[in-house]
Structure formats: structure tokens, C-alpha cells
Subunit: 245 residues, 2 copies
DNA sequence: ACCTGAACACCGTTCAAGT
DNA sequence: ACCTGAACACCGTTCAAGT
């Protein structure tokens, strides 16, 4: 079975009353609900209801809600477009892949939020990681920088998708930020006051593309971490005893 | 009243039965509960119970749970250490500030998660933003790059704190990632297979410091975004051939 | 092996009624 | 103006009992 491909879902109306469930239908149904009703509308009970059963039935296929989230995320990541080898300069392919990753997370409401609370490690995530590693290596990036760089790039893409989703989905948050920025005191916060337009300016994908360039450029041109990955258990210095206040 | 300073909380045991509540006590109590019981233990009902009242009473001081989260976050950010002007090179001060920001979010369980779902804009957040803008300007970073750079840096710090918190707090997630990585197929994912040690290696703060350097270096050395919010005295050369999406 | 209803121990939010 | 109990409409998870 192709985990990555979008899956045809048999309408539950036409199924015999007690058709057997499966992990697959549960995940597909959950993604449909997420798409239509958002994260706040997604619950095990809601998924179970859509499948004409009780929430308890889902526990045959899932350990818990967290596992459902993780399966949903990996399934959705099957829609990320992997650029064809050597179809364009490595850096363009890298950016195209990351942009597609961003869009998949951003375009389905709630998915980016799920991605921030679930470390992805299913087959589709692995495919993306593998390709990202390959692209950075193709660009001549040293091994450790490539490994850490992929982590940094995916973290950024996930975080920016979550932040943008939040702004899109919660008009309340956005309005409060705008109010706070527009009433900021010039004497107390002169720089914020001077920059408020630039700070608020979302400007579609220009800004996201800029940030991606900054990070990629930083990885390529930046320092090689000074410690080898083999020597991973040693600590440089004891953690300062931060006192709680 | 100093929003930023830690506040002495009068023991609820010694209060007269119907002592008046306030936004302040509600937020302080919520932060205590977060510290002791984590995000999953924090609820309006739980906060109300700690204050010997019903959840409905809190709605005099808060619009909803989201607002409580936002207030908690800004209060907690009061603990971020702002480096003294000119005490060391600007880049060191920038890194110290961001590290302190990271620690505040990371060290109180659940706080980083709250930060990822709340755009901070209270007085303490503004102070941090103002200082970050000042540091980048001190480093000679162009205005738009400074504004967008501060956004990128704070997004990164918040995201890495949330990711690390997740790994720390959910042994389950961590174990599943480790299992997935250690059983990865060498033929299908040769690079992940080869790099799995580097990918897993958390290495305390070495990695986080590396990423910070990458981003700061990328901001300083990277391109100026080709659209300015307002054409100021300084002329920025438009970059030809940049395609818009 | 799978499904189910009911129960357990919770949620955020609203509202009429109190003081 | 503030507080309260009760209600509403939900949660995830467990479990004994069914098929």
C-alpha cells in the first residue's frame, strides 16, 4: 500500500453497517475532519462518530490521540513534492522542496500546529529528510552541517507554518498584536515604533523566502560545528544553577 | 505596578474567605500550577480551585483561556536577562539575550508550547524586541533586515524551545523517534542511515548555539530583501532577475 | 479479534441568581 | 461589581460485556 499517495475513501454511507475499520480509514477520516472543521473540531469522539462507532473502537488501531496526530501528519506529508534530481541547481531544488513542505503544513488548517507537537518520523517524513540531506550534500555542505542543517530547516518551516496559521486562524490574536503595536509608546520603544510597519508586513511569501535564504546561506557559509558527532556524551561545562524566582 | 518583576503571592490559606481576586493573582497562580503540574495540569478550573472559587469567577479578569496563556507568557518573559549596553561586542550580547530567552521558555515546562500558540506582545515582549532591534542595528544590519531578522530569531528560539521541551517531556515521542531512526533501511534511506548519530545528537547547547550563529551570520551576511516598506534616504539597489512567486 | 455502552474524571464557557 | 452553582456541550481513556 502506498502510504504517501492520497487515498480514495469509500463513503461511509454505502458501507455495510459493520464494515471493518482500519488504521487507514481512521487516519483518512481524521484528515477529512481536520480539513473541514479545524483542529478544535477534531477529536477521537468526532472521528468515531463519522465512522458510525464509539470512540472506544478506535483504540484497536491507535494507542492514543497523539498517535493519531502523528499518523495524520505523516500521511499529509505524502503530498510534499520532491524535486527531480538535477532538474535545476541544488539550491533552487532545496527551496522548492521546503516551500512545498511549508504549503502542505500551512494549507490544511491545524496541521502545522500538529506538526509542532509531534516529531515526524514516518515514511513520508523520512523521504523528505533523505532528500534534504542529499541536496545539502550535493551543495558541498559538510556532513555535520548537513545533518544539523536539515533539522534547522525543517524546524523553521514547521514553525513559520504554525505561526502563519495562527495569524490566519485567530483574527483575535492578530487584532490584539496590531493594537499593541499601533499604540506602542515612542519614548519607551523608539525602534519598535519606527519599525512597526516592517514588523507587521507579512508580504506573502517574500518574507518566508528571504528567511529561507538567510538560513541556507548561513548553513553553507557558516562555521563547521567544532565537535564531532561521535563524541556526543561529553559536556562542555556544568549547567549554571539557575535559581527559580 | 511592575508587570515584569516576580510578585509575592499571599498564601491563599491565610486570606479571608472572600478576598478579592485580581488579574495578577490569577496569572501568578496559573504560573505556579504550570510549574508544578505542566501544561496538561493547567486549566481554568484548576486555577479557580487553587483560588478557592469557581471557574466562572475568573471571567471577570480574563476573556478566555487564550488570554490567560498570553498573560502568563508575558509575565514569564520578565525573567529574560537584558544585557547591559556596550558590556561586550554586540553579537555576544545578542546571543546572550537569545540564550536567556530560550532558557526562560525551556525551563518552565509547558511554557514553550504556550509561546508557540500565542504571539507575544505584552510589555516584557516589547522590551525584548526593542533590545533585539537595537542590537542588530548596532551591528550595522539594515533596517528591514533588522525587523525581519528579529522576527526570525524569536521564531527560532521559541520553536527550538518547544521542540526540546517536547523531547524532554514526552519520553514516548523520543523513544519512537529513536526506534524509527535505528531501524531505518540502509538501501531506502542511505543518508539518514549514515547520519543517524548526527541527527539524534542533541549535545546540550552546542547545537543550539551553532544554529543561532548560522541565523545571525545569515542575517548579517545575507541579501537585503528587495522590497522596502518605505523608501528612505538610503538607496537600496533592486536586484534584477529575482522572480516573484 | 473486534466492537460497544457506560462510566470515570475531566474540560471551557455561559448564565441566572445571589451579595 | 463581583462571586457562585449549576448547566451545557463537550473531552480522552478504560473496562466489562457482548459478538
Amino acid at each position: 500500500m502506498n502510504e504517501g499517495a492520497p487515498r480514495e475513501i469509500v463513503s461511509r454511507r454505502s458501507r455495510p453497517a459493520k464494515a471493518p475499520l482500519s488504521r487507514d480509514v481512521v487516519v483518512s477520516t481524521a484528515l477529512e475532519i481536520l480539513e473541514r472543521e479545524g483542529l478544535s473540531g477534531l477529536s477521537l469522539r468526532r472521528v468515531a462518530a463519522a465512522l458510525d462507532t464509539g470512540a472506544a473502537s478506535l483504540y484497536v488501531y491507535l494507542a492514543n490521540l497523539e498517535e493519531l496526530h502523528s499518523l495524520m501528519l505523516d500521511r499529509a506529508l505524502g503530498a510534499v513534492r520532491l524535486p527531480k534530481a538535477r532538474s535545476s541547481p541544488w539550491r533552487d531544488r532545496l527551496k522548492a522542496l521546503l516551500l512545498s513542505y511549508f504549503r502542505v503544513l500551512y494549507e490544511r488548517q491545524g496541521l502545522a500546529q500538529i506538526a509542532m507537537s509531534t516529531i515526524p518520523f514516518g515514511p513520508n517524513s523520512l523521504r523528505i529528510w533523505e532528500m534534504l540531506l542529499g541536496l545539502l550534500k550535493e551543495g558541498g555542505v559538510e556532513d555535520i552541517k548537513a545533518a544539523w542543517g536539515v533539522d534547522l530547516l525543517t524546524l523553521y518551516v514547521t514553525a513559520i507554518a504554525a505561526e502563519r496559521s495562527l495569524r490566519r486562524e485567530s483574527g483575535q490574536v492578530l487584532r490584539r498584536v496590531e493594537t499593541a503595536l499601533s499604540t506602542v509608546s515612542e519614548e519607551e520603544f523608539p525602534l519598535i515604533f519606527a519599525f512597526k510597519k516592517a514588523l507587521l508586513g507579512g508580504e506573502g511569501e517574500t518574507r518566508g523566502a528571504w528567511a529561507l535564504d538567510v538560513i541556507i546561506g548561513g548553513i553553507v557559509g557558516g562555521p563547521v560545528p567544532h565537535r564531532s558527532p561521535r563524541d556526543s556524551s561529553r559536556k562542555t561545562k556544568a549547567r549554571g544553577g539557575q535559581h527559580k524566582k
